[in-house]
C-alpha cells in the first residue's frame, strides 16, 4: 500500500518536466562496459523525466565517492561494503536489484589443468600450485573483493606472491582483461564484462557454475541527512524504478550476442 503510494507519488512528481532532476549514479565498470546502463537508463529517463549521469568506477571507489557526497545513488556489487555504507549512515537503505556470476578465465592451453571444473576454490589452489600467472584487479572493486575472498577460502596467501605469478593491475576490469590477454594470465571477471569484451585473444572460460561465484548487485540512495544537497526524491524514483516491474523487465530484456547478462531479483 505504502509502496504503491510512493510509486504513484514518484510517478506524479516525475511526470512534470518542471520536477525533472539530474542525478549522478556512482556505478561499476561492468554495468557500463557491458552496455546495460546505456540500454535501460533511457527507459527510466523517459518514464520519469529525470536524467541519470553515470560515473563508472570500481565498487570501492564508487562507495568512497558517494560517501563524499559526489553522487545521489549507488549501483554496486560488494554486499558487505554496501551494508557497512548503510550501517554507518551514508546510505538510506540497500535493495537487491539483479545478479550475474563471476567466471575464472585463463589461457586456452590450460596450464593449471582446471578447465571444466565447477569448484573455483580448488581451481584457484591449482593455479597457485602451478605458479600460473594470475591477473588481479587489485583496486578494491567488487570483483577484487570477491577474488580475495576466494583466495582466502583456498588458503593461498597472494600477498606473498605479488609481483611474482600474482600480478595486481590496480585497474578496471577491461584494462585487467587486456593485460591478462597480453600475459596469457588467469583472471576472475564478471560474465557481463567478459561477454562484452572484444580482445579475448587466446583466453577462454575455464571455471564457471560454482555457487561461490554468485555476484549480487545492490542499489542504495545516498542519505540526505548526511548530504543535504543530494536529489533524494529522484534517487528514490530511480530505486523504485530499478526494483519495480518496469526496471526489472528492462534488465531481463537486455542481452548481448543473444545472451542475457543480468538477472533481476529485486525482493518486490
Amino acid at each position: 500500500m505504502i509502496r504503491a503510494l510512493v510509486l504513484t507519488m514518484a510517478g506524479v512528481f516525475g511526470a512534470g518536466a518542471a520536477w525533472a532532476e539530474v542525478i549522478v549514479l556512482q556505478s561499476t565498470t561492468s554495468t557500463q562496459n557491458s552496455g546495460l546502463l546505456d540500454a535501460i537508463l533511457p527507459q527510466f529517463e523517459a518514464a520519469t523525466g529525470h536524467e541519470v549521469r553515470v560515473v563508472a568506477v570500481g565498487t570501492g571507489q564508487a562507495i568512497r565517492n558517494a560517501r563524499n557526497g559526489d553522487g545521489d545513488v549507488l549501483l554496486v556489487h560488494a554486499r558487505a561494503a554496501e551494508e557497512e555504507f548503510v550501517a554507518q549512515g551514508w546510505g538510506v537503505e540497500r535493495f537487491d536489484v539483479m545478479y550475474n556470476d563471476f567466471i575464472l578465465v585463463g589461457p586456452a592451453t590450460d596450464p593449471a589443468g582446471i578447465a571444466g571444473s565447477v569448484d573455483v576454490v580448488t581451481a584457484l589452489a591449482a593455479v597457485a600450485a602451478a605458479r600460473g600467472v594470475f591477473a588481479s584487479r587489485g583496486d578494491d572493486s567488487g570483483t577484487h573483493k570477491a577474488e580475495l575472498r576466494l583466495w582466502s577460502e583456498a588458503g593461498v596467501d597472494v600477498g606473498g606472491a605479488s609481483g611474482g605469478w600474482y600480478r595486481e593491475t590496480g585497474s578496471g576490469m577491461g584494462a585487467t582483461l587486456n593485460l591478462a590477454a597480453g600475459m596469457q594470465a588467469h583472471v576472475l571477471t564478471d560474465r557481463a564484462s567478459w561477454t562484452a569484451f572484444g580482445n579475448k585473444d587466446g583466453l577462454e572460460i575455464l571455471v564457471e557454475g560454482d555457487a561461490r561465484l554468485f555476484n549480487q548487485y545492490g542499489v542504495i540512495a545516498v542519505n540526505p541527512e548526511r548530504h543535504p544537497h543530494v536529489q533524494a526524491e529522484a534517487a528514490q524514483a530511480f530505486i523504485d524504478w530499478m526494483t519495480g516491474p518496469e526496471g526489472q523487465a528492462a534488465i531481463a530484456g537486455f542481452d548481448l550476442q543473444g545472451r542475457q547478462l543480468f538477472f533481476p531479483n529485486a525482493a518486490r
Binding site: V24, T29, N33, D38, R53, V54, V55, A56, N65, N68, G69, D70, S171, G172, M173, G174, A175, L177, N178, A181, A196, F197, G198, N199, K200, H227, H229
Partner: protein
C-alpha cells in the same frame, strides 16, 4: 570531439590570461624570491595530470572546500584541472622568451624612459610568435591529457566524455580497433590546429620581413 576542443581551448585561454602576465612579471620583475619562483614554475611544468586530477577532485568534492559550487563532474571542473596543468607551461615559456627579449632591448627601452613594468606589453608583442609556441605547447598538453579529466569529469556520456576518455573506455572494452581509429582522429585534429596556428605565425613573420 567538440567537447574536447571546447574544454582544452578554454583551458588554454584562461591559462594564457594567468600565465602570460605571470611569466612576463617573472622575466622583468626584480623582487625577493624571484629565482625560487622561477624554479617552482619550471618544476610545475612536469605536474602529473593524475595528481592534479586528485587535487581538483578533493577541492570540488561535496566534502571539499568548494563542494557547494557543485562543479564536480562538469566540463567546468575539467577546464579547471587543465588550467592548473597548462598555466605553468605557458608561464615558464613566457618567462624565458620575455627574459631574452628584455636582455636585448632593455637599454633601448630605458633610454626611451620606459619603466621595466611598462615595457611588458611591448616585449610580449615583440615575442608573440615565440609565445604562440608556448600556447600551442599548453594546448597540446591539454588536448592529449586523460588522467585529470577522467577523475574530475567522471567520463559521463554526453556530458564530460572527451576524446581521450573515450579512447581509454574503448580500450578497456577491448575495442582496440575503434580506440586506435579515435586516436588517429585526435592526432589529426591536433596536427590541423597546430599547423593552422604555425602557418599563420610564419606568414605574419615573413610579412614583417618584407615590410622591413
Amino acid at each position: 570531439m567538440l567537447l574536447s576542443l571546447r574544454v582544452s581551448l578554454l583551458a588554454v585561454v584562461f591559462a594564457a590570461l594567468i600565465g602570460l602576465p605571470l611569466g612576463a612579471a617573472l622575466a622583468v620583475g626584480r623582487f625577493p624570491g624571484r629565482r625560487a619562483l622561477i624554479i617552482l614554475v619550471n618544476a610545475l611544468m612536469g605536474l602529473p595530470p593524475v595528481v592534479v586530477g586528485l587535487l581538483v577532485y578533493l577541492a570540488l568534492s561535496r566534502s571539499g572546500p568548494f563542494g557547494v559550487l557543485g562543479l564536480l563532474y562538469t566540463p567546468t571542473a575539467m577546464i579547471i584541472a587543465q588550467v592548473v596543468l597548462v598555466t605553468p607551461i605557458i608561464a615558464a615559456l613566457t618567462r624565458q622568451t620575455v627574459e631574452m627579449l628584455d636582455a636585448e632591448y632593455a637599454e633601448t627601452l630605458r633610454s626611451l624612459g620606459v619603466s621595466r613594468l611598462a615595457s611588458v606589453p611591448t616585449l610580449l608583442w615583440d615575442g608573440r610568435l615565440a609565445l604562440m609556441t608556448a600556447l600551442l605547447a599548453g594546448f597540446g598538453r591539454a588536448i592529449a591529457e586523460v588522467g585529470a579529466v577522467m577523475i574530475v569529469g567522471g567520463n559521463i556520456n554526453h556530458v564530460t566524455r572527451v576524446m581521450t576518455t573515450t579512447i581509454a573506455l574503448e580500450t578497456s572494452k577491448g575495442n582496440l580497433a575503434l580506440a586506435l581509429a579515435l586516436g588517429a582522429v585526435l592526432v589529426i585534429l591536433s596536427v590541423l590546429i597546430t599547423g593552422a596556428v604555425s602557418m599563420a605565425g610564419m606568414r605574419s613573420a615573413s610579412q614583417e620581413v618584407r615590410h622591413a
